[in-house]
């Protein structure tokens, strides 16, 4: 029997599986502390209802036919949309703002170049009923606090304005040109922008980097004042973050297809690519919302969440009460099943005289 798994799937073994669970507990603990209640949507839904939620494209869904109803079912590739569905339907009557959190596995049909994993553990929080500056600041603050609690260092936030090109160009360019411009801005492809007649948009690619320099550059580009309120909002959100490093990239589009006025990516030391992302968006019939989500797997790979529990070896005949007392003291107890047993990874050993450290 071989242990080959399909591409993009893997077994999590000790100690990484434990790290995964402890990271989820730490992150959700901080989020719950800010009044976010946990919801648990199902792993599988009708394909059409999953595909109708924000943030999910049909192409990403692993689909199959339900042998019972003959309808097409799909495995979720994103939980944000499911939470939006819950907020807009089953919890539509609950007063706003509604604060919800979640964690669970998601699956996509295909990994990408940097992250070939197809199954990932997604975790996040959504604030439904407002996308104000205060709401965005709260969500970002919760995200940073939760990540810092895991021991992650060097956290930096990259803010973006997902609908900036539409706002600026909707009266001067046809939709097809806007889409092309957005694609080029996303890659910051200065050469192609000049070649295709978008040279006047180049200052947008230069208005990136630390907020202190990028924001004035963007204000200068926005001579008609179309962005004024958005930029004021960005400035206030950044100010609320305190001493976290904040950068601005107004035309970032990676994964911000459904966000409205603000989007953000979270970066940190020791993690390739981003740790998490979020922003403002609409759920159901256009209700404002703002939230963030992250994949716990990257944190585990960076070595976070490792738990160092003391393991104590209980030779045959150790009293049951002693074992219980040791567990109450925070030890993990490993009991001998036969006299010939031994424990190779125990840090301590119980003797009738008390617990001694293993050499």
């Amino acid at each position: 029997m071989t242990a080959l798994l399909p591409e993009g799937l893997r077994d999590r073994l000790p100690p990484h599986a434990e790290a995964n669970a402890s990271l989820v507990a730490t992150l959700l603990g901080v989020i719950a502390g800010h009044g976010y209640d946990r919801v648990q949507p199902p792993l599988v839904e009708f394909e059409e209802s999953l595909a109708a939620t924000v943030g999910t494209t049909k192409r990403e869904l692993l689909r199959f036919v339900d042998p019972v109803t003959q309808r097409t079912l799909a495995l979720r590739s994103d939980i944000t949309g499911q939470v939006g569905r819950i907020a807009a339907t089953r919890l539509a009557h609950v007063p706003r703002p509604l604060r919800l959190s979640y964690a669970g596995p998601v699956l996509r049909v295909k990994g990408d170049q940097l992250t070939p994993e197809r199954e990932r553990l997604q975790l996040g929080a959504e604030l439904i009923g407002s996308d104000s500056v205060a709401a965005a600041s709260e969500v970002l603050g919760v995200a940073v606090e939760a990540l810092a609690a895991t021991g992650l260092t060097g956290i930096s936030i990259d803010l973006t304005l997902p609908d900036i090109v539409e706002t600026l160009a909707s009266h001067v360019l046809p939709q097809a040109r806007i889409d092309r411009l957005k694609a080029l801005l996303d890659m910051k492809d200065a050469g192609a922008m000049t070649a295709e007649g978008f040279a006047s948009w180049l200052p947008l690619t230069a208005a990136t980097g630390p907020l202190a320099t990028a924001l004035p550059a963007l204000r200068a580009f926005d001579h008609a004042g179309l962005l004024a309120s958005r930029l004021d909002g960005i400035e206030q959100v950044a100010a609320a973050l305190g001493d976290v490093r904040v950068t601005l990239d107004p035309t970032e589009r990676h994964g911000f297809e459904y966000q409205s006025w603000i989007g953000f990516s979270i970066f940190a030391d020791a993690i390739r690519g981003e740790v998490g992302r979020g922003g403002s968006y609409r759920v159901g019939d256009g209700e404002a919302a703002v939230g963030f989500s992250l994949y716990v797997d990257g944190l585990v790979d960076a070595g976070l969440g490792a738990t160092t529990r003391r393991r104590v070896w209980l030779p045959l005949g150790t009293p049951v009460e002693t074992a219980a007392a040791l567990r109450a003291d925070g030890y993990a107890t490993v009991a001998a099943l036969a006299a010939s047993d031994a424990c190779e990874d125990c840090t301590h050993r119980w003797t009738p005289a008390g617990v001694v450290e293993e050499a």
Partner: protein, 218 residues
């Protein structure tokens, strides 16, 4: 952050043109860098915070996409082929100019009407670009991946057409081939890793320096 920044440069054709650009940006590599026989892979520069690596053109993009190098110089032919989403190309350096074209033997070209194609077989280093280019005009392309000496393919009957870089067209002419379509104009770009661009202030500064270096040359 004390780790030096790494700039990935492509071996061969573009390297000679890239050195003056680096010099204008204030980077002078150690002597061994220009020594073709040197077996070293990583080189220091006059700046303690900047190291260079010399790799194949396609690998420049890969190193930068994965953040193993923070900056690099690569043609848009390479960027188009990979479509890496983690790479920005904020500065067109205006060097290494050429074009990516479809070519076929002059004998075939004389009786050929590209409008009537439904299926073509092409030999190329750029299967993704070639496939996308032909698909956009409703032609199914069967691509044979080669890593060099593309011009041999039509001569020896491997495939009637090729998709390759053309600068003067001399190599094509010497092998009895003619250009029938241009897919894209190519020039070298300064490329940067997306995460490094957002989290490392030095990268943003270097982009600005290369931008003025490129503007000064234009």
């Amino acid at each position: 952050m004390t780790e030096p920044l790494i700039i990935a440069l492509p071996k061969g054709r573009i390297l000679k043109e890239a050195l003056p650009v680096l010099a204008r940006a204030g980077i002078v590599p150690e002597a061994a860098f220009s020594d073709e026989d040197s077996r070293a892979l990583r080189f220091t520069t006059n700046l303690p915070g900047v190291d260079l690596i010399r790799v194949r053109a396609f690998d420049v993009a890969t190193f930068v996409a994965f953040g193993a190098a923070q900056l690099g110089i690569a043609g848009n032919d390479v960027l188009m082929e990979f479509g890496f989403t983690e790479i920005y190309a904020p500065v067109d350096l205006g060097i290494g100019r050429c074009r990516l074209s479809v070519a076929e033997s002059s004998a075939l070209a004389s009786g050929d009407d590209p409008r009537a194609w439904s299926h073509v077989r092409v030999a190329t280093k750029y299967p993704n670009v070639a496939r996308a280019h032909f698909a956009a005009r409703g032609v199914q392309a069967e691509c044979v991946k080669l890593n060099g000496a593309m011009e041999l393919a039509p001569l020896l009957g491997l495939s009637p057409r090729i998709v390759d870089l053309v600068s003067t067209g001399r190599t094509l002419a010497e092998n009895g081939l003619v250009e029938v379509e241009t897919i894209a104009e190519v020039s070298s770009r300064l490329i940067v890793n997306r995460a490094a661009f957002k989290t490392d202030g030095r990268v943003v500064d270097w982009v600005a320096k290369f931008r003025s270096a490129a503007d000064a040359a234009a």
